[in-house]
């Protein structure tokens, strides 16, 4: 197990960073803050341009003649049904984040918009919904699609291991098996482990908030650690069972539960208001997507964009190796057109509905009912969802359902991450050993727990964002490699036929 260079090096790097966070959290905090600040300040434009480019690239690919090419051999068919596929896409890509931010993000933007918008006004509410759609809409999925498309194409159609380094074969050739290839894969492991550890930490905090809100369980580090321990055990069981049974069953269950919750909120809540919010925001989003895609507002104060949009873009890029490999794994047998349109449109639409229902309901409470929920969310974003439920019939059931949803999303994300880390550190083996999955499962939970105790969670969140900058370039080069490989499909196919007939 320890002979794998990527596995060993990644493990050592993770341990070193965790130790740094434990021994001298102030140093880690200072370093990561400086790096993060510099990157966001100086490369914001690069993130925005890249994000827009990835979206255009996906659309061009889907509409081009390459759209007919399968992510697999020509005779292969998709392994999962549409429902299973969309459920897993949604669970891995957004899941826990949506539960956390579904209420909190629109309210946060409403309370604290950019300088040129008056807070707590109708204009601020419109802006809040539109940017919530924007941050969770087409662009994140375009980033994920580039990564997963590259991995799926090179592994399932070209017969290479499902590693990020494999996508660089047209450019690097056999050097992908050397230090450059290892470096790319180690960066991917690094971004994944810190990205997921941070999410697990945040998820555990929100579960603790929910338990406190519902049952008066004190919101303390000790209880949060206990939550991490229990959920770790749960996802280890899921990981041990395997992808087909574990993650798929959990994802399907979760999506059903989320759908029931969503439907209830839509019917029991201000239905017309929510549908108006949905329609209006879709219109605003579609009409302004180009402007928003490239908006960094150098003349009107950039702070808001740095804190939100650029943070999200870096965050999605940092998450892309994890989501990319997982999504690639579940998308075998689909054509590029089907893959791009499915992964781009369906989860985006679901996200829009989610934000309209939860964000719309919370803005209704704030604007029309004067519940002052926005202020409470500003104080503690993790409580937003439960505070909204308090104003609905069956609040206790709703909050419990949300808690279950959170826990299951937590388990699904951690399970998927364990699986992906196993693949990345097993030379791309599609079925990583249980020992490796357990090692990474324990590692990511330990990282989350240790950082929660030492207070270095924000620092590591920043480190994950820092790792996104090189990954941004990895993604851009990946686009080049994908296009080059697709363009050479016909020529190489003729070569294979020629060699076959001549022999």
């Amino acid at each position: 197990m320890f002979q794998d260079k990527v596995f060993l090096t990644s493990l050592v790097i993770v341990v070193v960073f965790v130790l740094a966070g434990v021994i001298d959290p102030a140093f880690l905090d200072r370093t990561s803050a400086a790096l993060h600040g510099a990157i966001i300040a100086h490369f914001g434009w690069a993130y925005m341009l890249s994000g827009f480019f990835f979206l255009v690239f996906c659309l061009v690919l889907a509409l081009s003649r390459y759209g007919e090419i399968k992510l697999g051999r020509d005779h292969e068919k998709p392994e999962y049904t549409y429902f299973g596929w969309f459920s897993m896409l949604f669970a891995a890509g957004m899941g826990i984040g949506l539960i956390f931010w579904g209420v909190a993000e629109p309210l946060s933007h409403y309370m604290d918009p950019p300088e040129f918008i008056q807070p707590e006004t109708g204009q601020a509410a419109t802006f809040a919904m539109r940017y919530s759609f924007f941050h969770w809409g087409l662009h994140p999925w375009a980033i994920y699609i580039v990564m997963s498309l590259g991995i799926a194409y090179f592994s399932f159609r070209r017969g290479m291991p499902p590693l990020i380094s494999s996508c660089f074969y047209p450019m690097l050739g056999d050097r992908i098996y050397g230090p450059i290839g290892h470096f790319i894969d180690i960066m991917a492991v690094f971004a994944t482990i810190f990205g997921i550890a941070t999410s697990l930490g945040l998820g555990a905090i929100q579960i603790n908030s929910g338990l406190e809100h519902l049952y008066g369980l004190p919101s303390s580090t000790g209880y949060t650690l206990l939550i991490i321990l229990v959920t770790t055990l749960l996802f280890m069981v899921s990981a041990a069972v395997g992808l087909d049974k574990g993650i798929q069953t959990l994802s399907k269950t979760n999506i059903l539960l989320a759908f029931v919750l969503l439907l209830f909120m839509l019917i029991a809540g201000p239905t017309s208001y929510i549908l108006n919010v949905f329609t209006d925001t879709i219109g605003g989003y579609v009409g302004n997507v180009l402007e928003m895609s490239l908006a960094v507002n150098p003349f009107l104060g950039q702070e808001w964009y740095k804190n939100w949009t650029l943070f999200y873009w870096a965050w999605w890029i940092a998450w892309s190796p994890f989501v990319g490999i997982f999504v690639a794994r579940i998308s075998r047998g689909r054509t590029i057109r089907e893959f791009v349109s499915g992964a781009l449109l369906v989860p985006t639409l679901l996200t829009f509905v989610w934000f309209s229902v939860f964000g719309g309901a919370s803005l209704f409470l704030e604007l029309e009912q004067g519940t002052n929920i926005g202020m409470a969310v500003q104080n503690d974003v993790s409580t937003g969802l439960f505070l909204v439920f308090d104003h609905f019939p069956g609040a206790l059931i709703l909050s419990n359902a949300a808690l279950v949803l959170l826990i299951v999303f937590f388990v699904t994300s951690a399970d998927s991450a364990t699986f992906v880390l196993g693949i990345m550190t097993s030379k791309g083996s599609p079925n990583p050993s249980l020992a490796k999955k357990i090692t990474w499962g324990i590692t990511q939970s330990s990282v989350a727990a240790i950082l929660l105790v030492s207070g270095g969670l924000t620092a590591l969140q920043r480190m994950a964002i820092t790792a996104a900058l090189p990954f941004n370039f990895v993604l851009l080069f990946m686009c080049y490699n994908i296009w080059k490989a697709l363009a050479s499909e016909a020529r190489e196919s003729r070569l294979r036929q020629y060699v076959e007939t001549s022999t």
């Binding site: 017969g159 047209p170 490699n481 080059k484 490989a485 050479s488 190489e492 294979r496 060699v499």
Partner: protein, 265 residues
């Protein structure tokens, strides 16, 4: 094959320059050299130019090189190529200036235009072979992508075998997108290169094979400089818009190598 040779002159050359160049190109089996001068419309004294050009042609005839002269007016590159076509010339000989580093590296725009417009072979004479010292071509590189443009070059390469001892056949390919296909591609390239070697073995004393991956222009220049080749022979392709935007392989090779270049359209 290279019987009728068009040699543009701008009349800044000395008689010795014209004689040396003419005797050099005559070595490749030339029968007649046509000195062409293109005047700017409405500028200069046509009679005087014709008389100077006729004098140059006479001087060449006196040393045993059959020559004649033509004076035309208009866009220089267009007139050179038009005249060459009218005369059914076999090649246009263009000496690249070495007087100015910048001009030499970028090449005169006339040279680039002639390369672009010409439908007959163009020989661009650069630093190698050095006329005064050797007047001989020892080592040529034939760059091939195994496509139609390259196959049109075969006859010219064969003809050059009568005057040159060593041939290096260079293939610069594009890496395949996965290791298995790449292995097939390499084997196929090796087979095609060996077929070409067999084709030219009787014409040259020595035939070497080189295969590389990457930018064709970059590798052609690299190999030519590495083996100090005197001449590189290329088939000219009409490349599509994006690659042309960055400069076609032919124009990049032509401006980048120190050796002479023979472009076959």
């Amino acid at each position: 094959m290279l019987k009728i040779i068009v040699q543009p002159v701008d009349l800044s050359e000395s008689l010795t320059d014209v004689k040396i160049r003419s005797s050099f190109i005559e070595r490749f089996g030339g029968r007649e050299i046509v000195l062409v001068h293109v005047m700017n419309p409405g500028l200069g004294d046509k009679d005087m130019v014709q008389s100077r050009l006729a004098h140059l042609a006479d001087e060449l005839n006196q040393v045993g090189i059959q020559a004649k002269s033509v004076v035309t007016q208009g866009h220089v590159a267009s007139e050179i190529t038009r005249t060459a076509m009218e005369l059914a010339a076999d090649v246009i000989y263009l000496p690249a200036s070495r007087k100015n580093v910048l001009v030499s590296s970028l090449l005169g725009s006339t040279t680039e235009d002639v390369i672009r417009l010409s439908d007959i072979p163009v020989f661009i004479h650069k630093q190698r072979p050095v006329l005064v010292r050797t007047e001989k071509v020892h080592n040529i590189v034939f760059a091939t992508d195994f496509r139609k443009a390259a196959s049109r070059v075969w006859l010219y390469v064969r003809m050059l075998g009568r005057f040159v001892s060593k041939l290096t056949i260079l293939h610069v390919g594009e890496r395949a997108s996965d290791p298995d296909t790449e292995q097939l591609r390499r084997e196929n390239v090796e087979m095609l290169l060996n077929e070409l070697r067999a084709k030219f073995t009787d014409d040259f004393q020595e035939v070497a094979l080189i295969s590389r991956i990457g930018s064709p222009a970059k590798h052609i220049i690299d190999v030519v400089e590495q083996i100090q080749a005197d001449l590189v022979v290329l088939g000219r392709l009409n490349e599509p818009f994006p690659s042309k935007l960055l400069g076609s392989t032919c124009s990049r090779v032509t401006s980048g190598v120190s050796s002479s270049v023979l472009l076959i359209p």
